[in-house]
């Protein structure tokens, strides 16, 4: 079991080597706090994988398995480990499956990680809008998957807690309160939905970690972070929580007035990565959005991972082959100017 004290997991083995090669040893030794001492982090590189999936009855476990291989995740990194899958279950609405991570995507991830020898898989989320987490599990159909797969679900809004130093330092919050479950897992996998967002522009792997923060300490919605600033909060939460991997449900995403009231958008992709910044930048490009114009990605770039296309090694499908412009609304301030040319 790994103790997670203000973890910083943004650099995987390959990124570490990349940093060494480019002479950025301070980065490896000290993490984000030591950046900026002459080390241009945009020279760092990361991989992102794009898999095509025509629908939720595609062979999702195989696509995820291919992604793990392409991204260089060795079986030893998963074998015997406890894996936490963190979907986006912000709120549910019958007949509106495009709001939340699809249960078959979660089932596919469970199967893929089991094939890699995971000792235990936990699905956990602290829904941001709906206080009734059980209702969300029922309305999304996830409860049936959990039962059939014999998987434990933890409501992170109600979990026991522990306090850590805010390792990001962008907000005024000196400490962050995290759910105890994080201490009991070895790998945290963000499993967001590919969506536009009317406050943040887009919501993907990094914004999805808002759902890790317990509602009993941050509210419904997690309004403490809105007052602290969404971009700053995304940064702090991501540095402090330090997710290890992301699997983005982009089979059917949401365009327009996301994250709740937008329209379903068939994108037919599963995006994966060990670096959440690079994976989100790739997702943005697939959506026809310039990641450098997304405030939270621009804030993370050069600190937590690369967003320049030239610094992201694209595995699997090419962006051009799957790009499909998500509708952006001009009346939404956070959408203006996001479109890639």
């Amino acid at each position: 079991m790994k103790e997670r004290e203000g973890a910083l997991n943004f650099m995987n083995r390959r990124e570490f080597l990349s940093a060494v090669i480019t002479g950025c040893m301070g980065l490896a030794a000290g993490g984000a706090a030591m950046l900026g001492s002459g080390c241009t982090v945009e020279r760092r590189t990361a991989d992102a994988f794009i898999g095509k999936a025509g629908g939720y009855y595609a062979d999702i476990p195989s696509i995820i398995g291919a992604g793990l291989r392409e991204l260089g995740v060795a079986r030893q990194e998963i074998e015997g480990k406890r894996i936490l899958l963190k979907p986006n279950l912000i709120e549910s609405r019958q007949g509106a499956a495009h709001i939340t991570t699809h249960p078959l995507m979660i089932q596919g991830a469970i199967e893929a990680f089991r094939k890699y020898g995971a000792a235990e898989i936990i699905v956990a989320e602290g829904p941001g809008h709906c206080r009734d987490t059980l209702l969300v599990l029922e309305e999304t159909g996830l409860i049936d998957v959990l039962r059939s797969e014999r998987i434990t679900f933890t409501d992170l809004n109600q979990d026991s807690w522990y306090t850590v130093r805010n390792a990001g330092g962008r907000t005024k919050l000196k400490q962050l309160i995290l759910p105890e479950t994080l201490k009991r897992v070895d790998w945290i996998v963000s499993m967001p939905k590919l969506k536009t967002h009317h406050w943040a522009g887009i919501t993907l792997s990094m914004k999805n970690l808002f759902g890790v923060m317990p509602g009993i300490f941050y509210g419904w919605p997690k309004n403490v972070f809105h007052w602290e600033g969404i971009e700053k909060s995304i940064f702090d939460i991501n540095v402090t929580v330090g997710a290890h991997f992301t699997i983005v449900d982009g089979i059917v995403g949401m365009e327009g007035d996301g994250p709740i009231m937008g329209k379903p958008k068939q994108a037919g992709v599963i995006v994966m990565g060990t670096n959440l910044v690079a994976a989100d930048a790739t997702c943005a490009r697939i959506m026809g959005i310039n990641p450098q114009k997304v405030a939270y990605l621009a804030a993370a770039a050069g600190r937590l991972g690369p967003i320049k296309e030239s610094n992201i090694f694209q595995r699997g499908e090419k962006i051009e082959s799957v790009r499909t412009n998500f509708e952006l609304l001009q009346n939404i301030k956070a959408h203006r100017g996001l479109r890639s040319i």
Binding site: D132, L135, E138, F217, P221, N223, M261, L329
Partner: protein
Amino acid sequence: MYEKKIERAILILHERLLPDGGFVELPKAMYRVDATAWAIIALATAGGSDRNAIAAARTRLAASQMKDGRVSLSKEYPPACWPTALAVLAWQGSMVERNAHALAISFLLNTVGRMSKKTPDSPVADDPSIKGWPWIENTSSWVEPTALALLALRTAGHEGHPRAREAVRMLMNRQLPHGGWNYGNTVVYGQELYQQPGSTGIALAALAGQVDRAEVRKSLDYLRNQAERYRSPFSLCWALLALSAWGEKPDQGRAWIIESLDLQGRRGVYGTSLLCLLIASFFVDGDISKSLESCGAQK
């Protein structure tokens, strides 16, 4: 048959009791103020026969109170003050804890969510200048903490206080145009958001007797039409408590509560707060505020 299953639920609740009188939210977890307050509410509405457990839990809850009257989820994090309203409900009618009760009410009356002036270009249709209560100190007011505070003030006899009247106004401002409530936003960027049964139930339970039925008719229609569908304790119970408060408790309500209890075999055990909601909803007939007033009077 129903009674036996509720008795079993109360026995399970007792298994969550700590030696110091407090309750845990989940087996083997730590003491939680909200679980303790809910346990008191459940045991009181169930007839209050377990006076020793209620008294011990009230005393434990009082030990969690801070000097300014708030009861926060953790003394290490005072801003999470939302359980104060639950504590007011839990101390209702207690002679022993009357000072704690009065101090908590004073804290509620002096606490307000962050407000701002409504601007013509705001994408949010709600009026953020109306006073309500936040989940967490120094953040905005939201539906559930405002409704719980209103319920607590009403139960304590302060329904005429200006803060209670403004809470009514705040909740009515956050009612969705097509009926119901969600966490607390109505129309954003021109789109009406979805209602949620739990939020709708809490708001309606708090507003019982405070507004004309016609003003909340669409919301009552929504809950009445949807209640049968829910078996998750939070949504089901607040729907039943709300309909009960408005004199419309469905005849099958108790059966649905038992079904929800039975579903634990498939879903896993419920947290103490949810278990208590099921117990309280089973026994409350009418306005939960009145039930707690009469329970307190017995002490």
